[in-house]
């Protein structure tokens, strides 16, 4: 069957559409390519077909990336569970001496911490988008002691850091010197997760036998004047200037980061940035060779 379509314009354009159900193909052609208008229409169809083909390739690429990303996420979730399972099996092994089993308990604790952190990130990802659409937080901001929060999170990540021979220090002196407000009005869970993401990255990418420092400042001048700055400073893989612009993109991981730690979701900095934006603040980064400083900016308007 070869249906034809006639345009309502005076210069009639006949188009023949050939549908082959066996081969699942659709061919569109102009039956009288005599005038320039008709040729143009044929060209337009050809252009659309080319665009369609390009989109198909792009879609295939996106599907492949998506599949690879999901495999990575699955690895991220199953790996800690597998490690916990083997550690428990080793704990039950009567041949392993009791004094050597303490390390396994510590490993189980740090793997459980990683798992909880990951799951919170995935939950946060969907909640944040909803919050953004609503224009408000689902949880009410409350006055939070930032120094206390930093100390608690540093304690949470201590076993994981110790496994890599990395130390974590909260510079209480910097908090005393900067004299930040005692409390900042924030959504505690969200900011804790943002800070956790900075700490988790610092632990993963730091060189062994280095120390991660968490410190506070009050910006003295510039656009951020009067804001509270909480920084996580670490020594590890150098971040390329070209990658710096993409660090906060969802799913992005730098080449050196992928080389050092093959598995990762690339959503930590994206989420931290979104959380701080929703608080009217920001996430920032400054790089100096192997030293990376990621910082959360709390505007003076959030001081309780």
């Amino acid at each position: 069957m070869f249906p034809h379509v006639e345009t309502t314009r005076n210069t009639a354009l006949f188009i023949r559409i050939r549908v082959d159900f066996k081969e699942m193909t659709l061919t569109v052609e102009s039956t009288r390519p005599s005038s320039s208008t008709e040729l143009s229409a044929a060209e337009q169809l050809a252009k659309m077909a080319a665009e369609n083909a390009a989109l198909k390739v792009e879609l295939q690429g996106a599907r492949t990336n998506n599949q690879r990303y999901l495999q990575n996420v699955a690895h991220q979730l199953t790996a800690p569970l597998g490690a916990i399972k083997w550690s428990i099996e080793a704990l039950k092994d009567p041949e392993i001496r009791l004094e050597r089993k303490g390390k396994l308990l510590s490993s189980i604790y740090s793997q459980a911490t990683i798992l909880v952190h990951l799951i919170k990130n995935f939950a946060l990802m969907s909640n944040l988008e909803a919050d953004h659409e609503l224009g408000q937080f689902r949880e009410k901001p409350e006055p939070v002691d930032i120094l206390r929060m930093c100390i608690n999170l540093a304690n949470d990540f201590q076993p994981q850091a110790a496994e890599r021979g990395v130390g974590i220090v909260v510079s209480e002196r910097s908090f005393l010197t900067a004299r930040p407000p005692e409390h900042v009005r924030i959504v505690k869970n969200l900011v804790a997760q943002a800070l956790s993401n900075l700490l988790e990255n610092a632990v993963k990418y730091s060189d062994i036998k280095t120390t991660i420092v968490i410190k506070a400042d009050i910006a003295a001048d510039g656009a951020l004047e009067g804001s509270l700055i909480v920084s996580v400073v670490s020594i590890g893989i150098p971040i390329k200037e070209l990658e710096r612009k993409r660090l906060f993109d969802r799913g992005f991981r730098g080449d050196a980061a992928k080389q050092k730690v093959p598995a990762g979701t690339g959503i930590g900095l994206y989420l931290a940035n979104r959380v701080m934006q929703l608080h009217g603040g920001a996430l920032g980064v400054s790089l100096k060779g192997q030293e990376s400083r990621f910082f959360l900016v709390f505007p003076a308007s959030s001081f309780a």
Partner: protein
């Protein structure tokens, strides 16, 4: 003399329980967290079995390889340079084509965290006593 097992794995929380179980049975265990250091250890020590993860960093001598599949490179290098060393891949990958590739290189494959620890230990023990001239298959 103690038989030596090398773990080429950047996730210590995975090889820690395996290492403790093997050490309690009298094996010596060494660890390398990237391909470069694994090859350095292989070059200087007599190793009976090398346990390889698929996803691991290349290290300073292999900066351009895809770390998502770096373990395959190590398996090929070991098979080429140390043909009698037994290789066991401990990985979370489940792709049949990749598992076949591992088997084609005369390396064994066990799924990380899923196979019971006792079976992992049994497989490594057997490999250490038989060397790399034979392969083992587990359904």
């Amino acid at each position: 003399m103690k038989k030596t097992i090398l773990f080429a794995d950047d996730e210590p929380w995975f090889h820690e329980p395996v290492r403790l179980a093997l050490e309690s049975k009298g094996f010596e265990c060494l660890c390398a967290t990237d391909i470069t250091s694994a090859i350095e250890i292989m070059s200087s020590r007599d190793i009976e079995v090398v346990i390889v993860d698929v996803m691991m960093p290349g290290g300073k001598s292999f900066t351009t390889i895809d770390s998502q599949e770096a373990g395959f490179h190590l398996v090929k290098i070991v098979r080429d340079r140390w043909p009698t060393v037994a290789i066991i891949c401990l990985s979370v990958i489940g792709d049949a084509a990749k598992v076949n590739l591992i088997h084609a290189l005369r390396a064994d494959y066990l799924r990380k965290g899923e196979v019971p620890l006792a079976r992992v230990i049994e497989t490594i023990e057997r490999a250490a006593h038989q060397g790399g001239e034979r392969t083992w298959r587990f359904s």
